[in-house]
Symmetry: C2
Subunit: 420 residues, 2 copies
């Protein structure tokens, strides 16, 4: 049915490719390309052994639009799934415009030097996508991605009006190390040390696609300022903090009638203590330090010392729980639900060779590609997840490894069980 080109060869790409191979009725041809072809070959070998499906592999510099155009032409791809770095979203979107094929990614474009999470530059490509007659699906991971679909499903099927959304992301995985990071420690640091931000409706709120970050509808908080102990279903109580996360930008525009939306993530006390101590001694510095005549960037040296994030998958135990607490009106009455997925790190690793953090992002990337491939989600232009009918995506989640549950709560009820 569709010829899929996947760019990137990290953990998320591994999961998306394995899952695409499991859906070979939809994806009749799959090409996996990245800067390091050997990584693609290793994934292809894994898939051949496990599923007896053949995957093509190629070397590609995703920063080079022309090279991507040539690869698309050579493979005959109809859909490009971008699970490379978010730095490369724009060049890959341009390659899709030039070749008139559909584009899907899992995370906001970021400039490598001045990271700022916003959809502006990707939304600005809407006209070009329309003119090319293609669809761009932005943020088809878990959060953003499934969290947007949870909200859309609630909005379309369960509520007449939604007023409050809290997205809660808990990773209770334990890799057995006193300290290690799932990503580059620089990105982890940014999460912990950045100011938080959430959205609430004010007289100035508008649904323009150009976001005015200085508007009073965006409330800024100090790093880790808002936090509490939350009792996650099937996991238990975890320290949880308010952060900014990119789905707030699109959901605050697309969920009509919304009064407030916030995002929370768990950080263990020990993790935060380590980050603080490392910051105190200067190990999180990103500038060069002269040491015995050599210039060393402390955070890069820290990365050298820490366990390779790729090695964590094989030893991570425990679960993730990511979901949304949604409150609003149904048939004139107050209603509140908790809709979430629980994912087990060891089960993910057994199936795909990657742990839960990659799995929860890679599976929705494949599902988004599948719905586009089958024309179930269709349109011309650049879209966020919640702009489509949520039902077919919710159905796919149930059968592709990310089953979800809904708890009916009392309106105003909270699983917050204490302060930090």
């Amino acid at each position: 049915m569709a010829n899929l080109l996947i760019i990137g060869a990290g953990g998320v790409s591994r999961v998306a490719t394995v899952k695409a191979a499991q859906n070979k009725d939809t994806f009749t041809k799959i090409t996996l390309a990245s800067r390091t072809k050997s990584k693609c070959d290793e994934i292809a070998k894994f898939i051949k052994e496990r599923l007896n499906v053949d995957i093509q592999t190629a070397e590609i510099n995703a920063d080079d639009t022309e090279a991507v155009v040539n690869l698309i032409k050579k493979t005959g791809a109809e859909i490009l799934l971008n699970v490379a770095l978010p730095y490369q979203n724009l060049t890959l979107m341009d390659a899709c415009i030039k070749t008139k094929i559909h584009y899907i990614d899992t995370a906001n474009y970021e400039h490598p030097d001045t990271p700022k999470f916003e959809y502006k530059l990707q939304w600005e490509k809407d006209d070009e996508f329309k003119k090319s007659g293609i669809l761009g699906l932005l943020g088809s991971g878990f959060d953003p991605g499934v969290t947007n679909v949870f909200c859309a499903y609630a909005s379309q099927y369960l509520f007449d009006e939604i007023h409050y959304i809290d997205i809660l992301d808990c990773n209770a995985g334990d890799h057995g190390y006193a300290f290690a990071t799932n990503f580059n420690p620089e990105i982890n640091l940014r999460e912990v040390s950045a100011n938080g931000r959430y959205w609430k409706k004010t007289a100035n709120s508008s649904s323009d696609r150009v976001t005015n970050w200085d508007s009073d509808e965006w409330v800024e908080t100090k790093p880790m300022e808002i936090g509490f102990k939350w009792d996650y279903p099937e996991i238990g109580v975890k320290d949880t903090y308010l952060l900014y996360h990119e789905e707030l930008e699109s959901l605050s525009k697309n969920i009509k009638g919304l009064k407030q939306i916030r995002f929370f993530m768990t950080f263990g006390e020990s993790y935060l203590t380590h980050m603080k101590c490392l910051e105190n001694v200067g190990m999180l510095r990103v500038d060069e330090v002269e040491h015995n005549g050599v210039k060393i960037v402390p955070i890069q040296f820290l990365k050298t010392l820490l366990p390779d994030p790729a090695s964590l998958g094989a030893r991570t135990k425990g679960k993730t729980n990511i979901g949304c607490v949604i409150r609003g009106l149904k048939d004139g009455k107050e209603k509140q639900i908790y809709i979430y997925n629980v994912c087990d790190h060891e089960e993910c690793y057994a199936e795909t060779g990657a742990q839960g953090v990659s799995y929860t992002t890679g599976v929705p990337a494949m599902i988004g590609s599948k719905l586009v491939a089958k024309g179930i989600w269709s349109g011309k232009g650049v879209f966020n997840m919640e702009e489509f009918d949520a039902k077919p995506f919710m159905d796919e989640l149930m059968t592709q490894g990310l089953a979800w549950k809904i708890i009916e709560m009392k309106p105003g009820e909270s699983y917050k069980v204490g302060e930090i």
Copy 2:
């Protein structure tokens, strides 16, 4: 009266030299020598400006016995005060034997590669010192040093028998940094991560100068295993942990009738947390790590990142309290005292340009030299502090900046106010 040669140009040396210059009736000529002559010149300049006393300076490699011999001959020194590294005790003792001049130091010899604190190699020079007709005074700092003198004073003047000694070393100085170390972090780490050890009398105890560390009289404890909150006079409650410290070796032999002696030091919770976190990420490793093609020893890179210990003096506020709780018998009755000195970091810095940790070591180093210079402490061979009459040293402490106090306690009374 005496011609003094001081080796070393760190904080302790600075204090000892300033104090020697304040006692110019005793020290008619003072030469300050170290590997880096400019450091000596800076101290000499400070002393000239403050006290209008002239100090000679010289460059010396303290590892080179012959060079030291030549310097002693050239200066005509009669006493050598070693406040260089403890690695150099043996070569400097040999230079004193060859030139027949008295030797004084403040800390146990250590081998740079296999640090082990014991007096064995220094005590073995006793015969050669006797033959040369010279005196070697070992450990004339604060602890060891003043703590030994406190015990000797109690033994000689206040008690008929001493049964229990607890030495308690509290540094409540605050340099205003979240984390910094007073010494090389490698030495700080060793203190925190080494097993503790204390002495108690058993049937196997003997007063032989060769210590049998495997004897059951030495009780080994895990790092930080024994700890409590202690209410230090004039400071307050601080977390305090049992460590091994070198004065236990000589005091357990020289204080007759002793049943138990232990040593305790304060470590703040934040300090220990930082050390633990740094250890967890590998930053305290002493082996080489390959980073971007360069070999880096993590703990050395940490030292580069941390504030220079020499820069802490000017900004350290607060006090030290080092003392001994001594329990025994007097006139057939139980008796217990707390004998201690309190030292103020800022006052030390104002007087000498070095903070309290250097001051409390440098002042006793000068006093030991002074008592030897004046012949008040005399003898042939190698001695520890407690082998002399404590009274003249106690009198000097009162007038040289380290006044002491005695609190009469109820026998069995404790200033322990809680567990950690």
